[in-house]
């Protein structure tokens, strides 16, 4: 059976990471490469997924080390074991790690896949969801970065063999991280992880209190359109769209956003789309599964009341 590598990073298992294991197990026997300063939690989580082996990287301080460290070790492991595929989460960081491994191991790469099958054919949804493309890597290890929320995770019990790999010799000295100020810890899920995203546009006039309250009640992340960022109402990290983040949640709720092509480019693969807009002609309604013509503040207020 062919070997499939997946990359797991961070202090705990993310939903994107769990999905990599599910996708990988379709095509072969999964090895999870774990890059974490506290790997125990990820090793334990791997045993709840279809994972047959874990390789825990040691000798690297992942908080202080650039992504070049991770990509160098990963490339070394790919060269050593020649897996059929390497699956990585499609975050900005994941794509850059995958890109560097592709160069080092002379392997083809597909990014932002929404599906991958047993034959390692990857599906992408491109041009704002207007085309579905299936493609395959034809050289080296198939390196595929996967969007999150694309497959249901069912847990199992596995007992992966645990291996350690000393990465100390691969620590990047080119880039020095001088400071990392973590954002204020919020109970709200991140845009990448959330299964529901509630976004506000210019129509909010900068008043995000109801959007945040509604989002918190339904466990959603908060996003925004570009004018909101340009007006300084919300930080850039929350911008959804062509020049911001691309999200593909189960459900995207657009409040006071008109539905410009550059905004849709960042969210059109959401499974269910809801739009609240006072203008019945707003383009967002053309792609909405559920549209409410009305004032966003009134609608959110009554939705919040209904939830409480």
């Amino acid at each position: 059976m062919s070997q499939i590598f997946i990359l797991l990073e961070g202090d705990e298992l993310s939903s994107a990471g769990a999905e990599l294991a599910i996708f990988g197990s379709r095509a072969g026997s999964v090895t999870a490469v774990i890059c974490s300063n506290n790997p125990e939690a990820l090793v334990a989580s791997a045993a709840t997924l279809p994972v047959e082996r874990v390789i825990v990287l040691t000798g690297i301080d992942f908080a202080k080390s650039s992504l070049r460290s991770v990509s160098s070790v990963l490339a070394e492991l790919v060269k050593r074991d020649s897996p059929a595929a390497l699956l990585v989460a499609s975050s900005a960081r994941g794509k850059e790690i995958a890109a560097r491994v592709a160069v080092r191991t002379e392997s083809g790469i597909v990014t932002d896949a929404i599906d991958v099958n047993a034959a390692l054919e990857a599906t992408q949804s491109i041009f704002g969801g207007s085309y579905t493309v299936s493609s395959r890597v034809t050289h080296g290890t198939s390196i595929v970065t996967m969007r999150s929320h694309c497959v249901e995770v069912t847990t199992t019990t596995s007992s992966p063999a645990v291996e350690y790999f000393d990465g100390a010799g691969y620590v990047d000295t080119q880039v020095t991280i001088t400071s990392s100020e973590p954002a204020q810890k919020s109970a709200r899920p991140s845009l990448a992880e959330a299964s529901i995203v509630v976004s506000g546009g210019r129509g909010t006039d900068g008043k995000f209190e109801l959007i945040e309250e509604f989002a918190d009640l339904i466990g959603a992340a908060v996003g925004a359109s570009r004018p909101v960022i340009d007006s300084g109402w919300y930080p850039h990290a929350y911008q959804v769209g062509q020049t911001g983040k691309t999200v593909s949640p189960q459900c995207y709720i657009a409040c006071g956003i008109s539905g410009a092509i550059q905004h849709k480019a960042g969210m059109q693969t959401a499974k269910t789309i809801i739009a609240i807009n006072k203008d019945p002609e707003a383009p967002f309604f053309e792609i909405a599964d559920f549209g409410i013509v009305g004032d966003l503040f009134t609608v959110l207020q009554s939705a919040i009341a209904a939830l409480k």
Binding site: E96, A102, S135, H139, E181, I274, E286, V293, G294
Partner: protein
């Protein structure tokens, strides 16, 4: 300081993009423009050499078919000094790996101190070229910068993400990509547009870079237009809109 800015010509982001029968983007059908994200990199380069010390130059480097010249002229009219255009029929259908190899080879010919890029091209949206170029050159990679400061031979950047604010630095030469929040790109002035006509664009073929044609390492198997989405339910809020919203979320088992 000698700065290279990597730029790409892409279909206008306002236009509907279509696939050709070969599984590649049909570029003939839509207006081609300078990738929006690259304008921020150009602006950053121009601001970094604003004082124009002796030897300061900004060079645009682009790989693409002949008509890429239009995007290059736009960069030149913004104030970029000169350009390298890698244009070769053998490059049609190149993947990111081949593209990064070509760009890295062109950069190596120029003795640059800094390579600036946009965060991604609005057509392919892979966002992998800066990392690949950095890997090929073995230069440090500082990506998604929202602030760039150069002190002596060290470049410092700030990157803001949802998880926080990171500051990092590296020795030049380095590859840096910038996000749109860094600077508002300038509009080309009339003077700039006139001056651009006289600026030099060095045309290079693959063999000029010492390279031979490369196969793409990915193959498109099928590409299917998605059937237009059937319009969903649209209601007018009569006071019960919020309740109906919650009911809809529950019905779809989203909450």
């Amino acid at each position: 300081m000698k700065i290279a800015v990597l730029i790409k010509q892409v279909p206008d982001s306002w236009a509907e993009k279509k696939m050709g029968s070969d599984g590649l983007l049909d570029r003939a059908g839509v207006d081609a423009v300078l990738n929006d994200n690259d304008e921020y990199a150009i602006e950053t380069a121009l601001q970094l050499v604003e004082a124009r010390a002796a030897g300061d130059t900004v060079t645009a480097i682009s790989m693409g078919p002949e008509r890429t010249t239009d995007a290059i002229r736009k960069a030149l009219s913004m104030g970029v000094d000169g350009a390298v255009h890698i244009c070769d029929d053998a490059l049609a259908g190149s993947d990111a790996l081949a593209t990064s190899k070509v760009l890295a080879a062109a950069i190596s010919q120029g003795e640059f101190d800094l390579v600036l890029c946009g965060m991604e091209a609005t057509d392919s949206r892979m966002g992998v070229i800066p990392a690949m170029v950095s890997e090929r050159l073995d230069w440090p990679q500082l990506t998604f910068a929202s602030e760039v400061v150069i002190q002596d031979s060290t470049i410092h950047i700030t990157r803001s993400t949802e998880s926080g604010v990171d500051r990092m630095n590296a020795q030049l030469p380095a590859v840096v990509s910038v996000v749109e929040k860094i600077f508002e790109p300038r509009y080309p002035s009339f003077k700039g547009i006139m001056a651009a006509k006289k600026k030099e664009i060095a045309m290079k073929s693959l063999s000029d870079l010492g390279l031979t044609p490369m196969d793409a390492w990915t193959k498109v198997l099928t590409s299917t237009p998605k059937p237009p989405k059937a319009a969903g339910v649209k209601i007018v809020d009569d006071g019960s809109g919020g309740e109906k919203l919650v009911a809809f979320l529950k019905e779809r088992k989203l909450i």
